[in-house]
């Protein structure tokens, strides 16, 4: 080992140092790949662990939970049934845990969504751990209710407690942001009303006070119900049962609670949250893998070139008695060194990028999935370890073929002078066949259904497509470069030919560089196609199905509280305005359908039949389908249909407060508002089943030629000035939808930029290698009388060829990947049908950019080429 190590230091490490630019490129390439992977996985992990943390901060030691299935809340009457189980040592307490809109506290602020937590302030301390300055400063026994109050002299403040009317505790973060202190008032928006609460104290950061990062208002349960207008309803019931009884009790309780109440463990909620965001997270992670893969090519390329370049020297080593194994080991050390440097740098960079990544995905998580604050990353050493392992692992895998090649060098090669080529040239045809096989498998894989709603085969198909196309590259290049040489010779003269034929001469390297650029570009192209297809589809869908002229909703809902409601009378108030043809009430609630979050909505189908325009999968007109949705009939959204494997003509059974109810599925409608899925039933049925006549929004259809502004004024007047509502036009709605859409995909753009950057590094790296490899040729050319500019021209042409080939391949592979993304991966993940649309202008722009960038990446190698010192090179022989 000492000998091998010294050999490594002298033979390999010095070489690595001497070629520091290439070493740097390689290291940076790996680093980028690892860093985006780490950043994204930290961001993903933060979302889930924040969710879990919030669960544990709010639910504390609970080991069983009662959760509502038919809506956001369950009837508190279930508590009655629990009383008997106290004998078994079971403790329980109701909870309210719901969004609340905090109104702008001053003109320069915006309203914001915070969390309202309602607890029984008298409940067992095991359920409610928090500290608050409302009580006292004692920290050792948080959760106590104390009579002493030391921080205030005024009697009124002294007596202000969480039991005072409309008095709440305010989370530290929230208090800090708004300067709330004991005795202050805070304004909230509930449905269409502004209301005031009194600050009874500010919470510390432990326990509930730390939940939702301190953006909470904690109220006694009765007050929380008052605030939400939820009499008799609670979000959950938390139970603490003796550990040994948990399974038994869970089963027993499930028998006695109403059928729309689920008896679960706190983990269930986290698991459901994880399931809910899984598709989104994997999609992001898959993108980072592209960057990693391109990084792998970089390693492969660097190592291959090193070993090819040093074949004669390796031959010398072998000739003087160094074993194959030692040769392999010293190059393995090189790979490890590169991997270590790249991965370490990547982990450090990733740690820095994680904040940005989190910011980029936070709003998407919060908008589509769950509202936990994501302002700070959660540091989990495991994430770093995983990123490190992945970086090192992939590096070593990528280095394996060149390492094996290093062992094939025979001592005789010490004396050989001819330029070496890797095995690639010899195996172009077999590789091509393998590539075709991969593509065939890819096709086959793409046809497979999702596994547990997860597009396992879709991702496999994407991987196969990438591998397949990469394997095709060598033969295609081998066949096309000679042709290109002739063409280039005609256009660019001899430099053109030399550029092409020397690429041909180093086919192995050329192919790898091309393939990595191809993958980077393919990713960019496929994402561009996917995003623009998606955008186009969504815009089209909005244009088509948002037929109403005005949309009315409560201020709370407009501020982001999905469950902000309006009185049913708002429909009439809108409909009776002059110029209004019809008003349709719509209400939605989150339900738990077969262990997954989904939305149950109800609409006035009679109005919808006349005025609406839902787009249905069957292609039937909105009128025909909507007219049939009466009684126990429903329509479901496409994501719901895909996830639950349902279709027109099936039926869907949902839990309602009155028990399970089966609805016949009239049709499946296109919907892009949520990937969780919608079931829409007639509102009269909904009102009966859920005893809920409130509405989420009103779609208002105007008469032909009616003045929209006049109608708007009329509606607002009818509703009365005390009602705080938002009344937006369809075009405003559309703008908002597109804004959310673009925000959702912002991270995607960022990721593909990074993948392309890695790909460009790979091109630069290849050009470096080629230039170094071509020193001899350049020297000869210099002898023969080639000008410096001619040498530079060769390098630039090579850069252009690589760029163009990579780009062309990238467009091809990108096309395949975009098909997979749109029709397989996203379809199976989110259930969205997306109309295929190719953004030619983008492809044209990006192609130009790629070739330009390739040329730019040739600058340094070209200068290097031009500087070639002919005598030293030729003499070196």
């Amino acid at each position: 080992m000492p000998f091998a190590f010294t050999l490594f230091l002298r033979f390999v490490a010095r070489d690595v140092r001497r070629n520091w630019i290439r070493t740097l490129l390689t290291v940076f390439g790996i680093a980028l790949g690892v860093s985006v992977y780490l950043a994204i996985s930290i961001a993903n992990n933060t979302a889930i662990s924040q969710f879990k943390q919030t669960v544990s901060q709010v639910s504390g030691k609970a080991n069983i939970e009662l959760m509502p299935l038919s809506g956001p809340a369950l009837p508190e009457a279930v508590l009655d049934a629990l009383a008997d189980y106290r004998m078994l040592g079971v403790k329980y307490t109701p909870m309210i845990d719901e969004h609340l809109v905090l109104a702008a506290q001053s003109p320069e602020q915006n309203s914001e969504i915070i969390q309202l937590i309602g607890i029984d302030m008298l409940a067992d301390p095991d359920f409610k751990s928090y500290q608050s300055d409302a009580n006292d400063s004692e920290t050792e026994d948080s959760g106590k209710i104390r009579s002493e109050d030391t921080d205030s002299d005024q009697d009124s403040l002294k007596n202000l407690s969480v039991f005072s009317p409309r008095a709440v505790l305010v989370g530290g973060k929230l208090a800090q942001r708004h300067g709330f202190k004991k005795g202050d008032q805070l304004t909230i928006v509930v449905n269409d009303q502004k209301e005031k609460l009194l600050v009874a104290g500010v919470l510390g950061t432990s326990g509930i006070g730390g939940a939702y990062s301190g953006n909470v208002v904690v109220a006694d349960i009765g007050l929380a119900q008052d605030i939400l207008k939820w009499p008799g309803k609670v979000t959950r019931v938390d139970l603490i049962a003796p550990e040994s009884l948990v399974p038994l009790l869970q089963a027993k309780l499930q028998e006695i609670v109403p059928s729309d109440v689920l008896v679960a463990t706190p983990d269930t909620r986290s698991e459901q949250a994880e399931k809910m965001v899984r598709s989104f997270e994997y999609n992001l992670l898959a993108l980072t893998f592209i960057a990693l893969m391109v990084g792998m090519f970089l390693i492969y390329n660097t190592m291959t070139i090193t070993i090819l370049r040093r074949r004669p020297e390796i031959g010398i080593l072998r000739a003087i008695g160094v074993s194959r194994r030692t040769v392999q080991n010293i190059f393995l050390w090189e790979a490890i060194c590169l991997g270590l440097m790249g991965t370490t740098l990547g982990v450090v960079m990733g740690a820095f990028m994680a904040d940005g990544a989190l910011k980029a995905v936070a709003q998407t998580f919060q908008y589509f999935y769950f509202k936990v604050p994501l302002d700070k990353i959660t540091v989990d050493p495991l994430q770093y370890a995983a990123a490190f392992a992945i970086g090192m692992g992939l590096t070593l895998i990528a280095a394996l073929p060149p390492l094996l090649e290093s062992t094939t060098v025979s001592p005789a090669e010490a004396t050989r002078r001819a330029s070496q080529e890797s095995n690639v040239r010899r195996s172009t045809t077999p590789l091509f066949v393998v590539g075709l096989a991969c593509l065939a498998l890819c096709y086959f894989s793409a046809l497979q259904p999702a596994v547990n709603n997860f597009p396992l085969f879709g991702y496999l198909a994407a991987l196969l497509a990438i591998m397949g196309c990469s394997f095709l590259v060598p033969l295609i290049l081998a066949k096309s470069l000679p042709v290109l040489a002739t063409i280039f010779a005609r256009i660019f003269g001899v430099e053109g030919r030399i550029a092409a034929v020397s690429l041909q001469g180093t086919l192995g390297r050329t192919a790898v560089a091309c393939a990595s650029l191809m993958i980077g570009i393919a990713m960019m192209i496929s994402l561009a196609i996917m995003i623009s297809s998606f955008r186009k589809t969504v815009t089209h869908w909005i244009d088509q199905s948002f037929e109403a002229d005005l949309w009315l909703q409560s201020q709370a809902r407009a501020s982001g509280n999905k469950f902000g409601r309006l009185q049913e009378s708002a429909i009439k108030a809108a409909a009776s305005v002059e110029g209004v043809a019809a008003a349709e009430g719509f209400v939605d609630r989150s339900i738990n359908y077969q262990g997954m979050s989904a939305f149950l909505a109800a609409a006035d189908f009679d109005v919808l039949t006349k005025y609406g325009n839902q787009l249905f999968l069957s292609g039937e007109s909105s009128k025909t389908v909507c007219a049939r949705v009466v009684g126990m009939h429903a329509i479901i959204s496409e994501p719901f249909a895909v996830r639950k494997n349902l279709k027109k003509g099936d039926s869907v059974e949902i839990d309602t407060p009155l028990g399970k109810r089966k609805f016949f599925i009239e049709d499946v409608f296109y919907d892009y508002a949520s990937d969780l899925g919608y079931i829409i039933i007639p509102r009269d049925i909904y009102k009966q089943l859920y005893n809920d006549s409130s509405i989420s929004n009103v779609a208002i259809y105007l008469k032909e030629g009616a003045n929209i502004e006049k109608a708007r004024q009329g509606i607002l007047k009818n509703l009365g000035s005390s009602s705080l509502v938002s009344l937006s036009s369809t075009s405003e709605l559309r703008k908002e939808a597109i804004r959310i859409f673009d925000r959702t995909f912002a991270i995607t753009y960022a990721l593909h930029t990074i993948a392309v950057t890695v790909a460009m590094l790979s091109i630069m790296n290849a050009l470096f290698a080629l230039t170094i490899e071509s020193r001899r040729e350049f020297a000869i050319l210099r002898y023969i009388g080639a000008k410096k500019t001619q040498l530079a021209k060769i390098v630039y042409l090579q850069a252009a060829i690589l760029g163009a080939c990579g780009n062309l391949g990238g467009i091809g592979l990108g096309y395949i990947l975009s098909l997979l993304l749109i029709h397989v991966i996203n379809k199976q993940s989110f259930g969205w049908s997306v109309q295929y649309f190719v953004p030619y202008d983008f492809i044209l722009q990006s192609s130009t950019l790629v070739i330009l960038t390739s040329l730019l990446s040739g600058i340094y190698p070209a200068r290097m080429a031009a500087r070639t010192l002919a005598p030293s090179v030729v003499r070196d022989e």
Binding site: R417, S419, R776, L781, R782, I784, A786, K788, P871, V874
Partner: protein
């Protein structure tokens, strides 16, 4: 090519060359005149400075002091561009390791200097390449790649490439160094033939007495100095 009426093609005047920080002397005050049509053998052991001298003549390296007048122009004063042009037009190289471009065919290799110069038409070029290959006896190997040729054949192609643009001077650095004696002899004969039939000026560096003897004039060097300069009696 009526640029210079002088019979002297090359005048090397007190040229010295030192390398690096430590001022390693490769050449010290060498002066040699070479006339048109001469076949000069530059002889000496490895490291005597003959390759350095060749590189200075070709403008591939710059002299530390002294002048090198090639065809009436001082190479040491020319810009890199001018030297490159000079090389492209007036000098042809033959190397020990042939230095053919492995990815180009025989014909392409030979055509290279003409193409780089870029002045001749494609037809003329083709004609000239064929002519040259015929001259070296490789006309039937036009579309072979270097790897498909024997060492001797490769060197002939290299010579054809050196000649193709009708250079004033052929610089040959150990042209037989990598060949067996039979092939070496053939190459020497070819050079001799070119010298005689085309009146081609040749400067050939070699350490082989046998090869050196082919030239008209033998200049011996040692430690960067010219130690003898004599004509050969054939």
């Amino acid at each position: 090519m009526a640029s210079s009426p002088s019979s002297q093609l090359l005048q090397i005047e007190a040229v010295a060359k030192t390398y690096g920080e430590h001022q390693v002397k490769a050449l010290s005050a060498v002066s040699i005149n070479i006339a048109r049509g001469e076949f000069v053998s530059l002889m000496g052991a490895s490291g005597c400075g003959k390759s350095t001298l060749l590189n200075l003549i070709a403008g591939l390296d710059t002299a530390s002091s002294g002048r090198i007048i090639f065809d009436g122009a001082d190479v040491t004063k020319l810009t890199d561009e001018a030297v490159t042009a000079l090389r492209a037009k007036k000098i042809g190289f033959v190397f020990q390791f042939f230095n053919l471009l492995s990815t180009l065919t025989v014909a392409e290799n030979v055509a290279l200097p003409l193409e780089l110069g870029g002045t001749t038409s494609a037809a003329d070029r083709q004609k000239r390449v064929l002519e040259m290959l015929a001259e070296v006896g490789m006309e039937n190997r036009l579309n072979f790649y270097p790897a498909q040729l024997s060492g001797g054949e490769m060197q002939r192609v290299a010579i054809a490439r050196a000649l193709v643009h009708k250079p004033e001077l052929i610089v040959a650095d150990e042209p037989t160094g990598n060949l067996d004696s039979e092939n070496g002899l053939k190459v020497l004969e070819l050079l001799k033939h070119l010298n005689k039939s085309l009146n081609q000026t040749i400067v050939m560096a070699t350490h082989s007495e046998e090869a050196g003897a082919v030239g008209d004039r033998i200049i011996r060097m040692k430690d960067g100095l010219v130690v003898s300069d004599s004509l050969v009696q054939h």
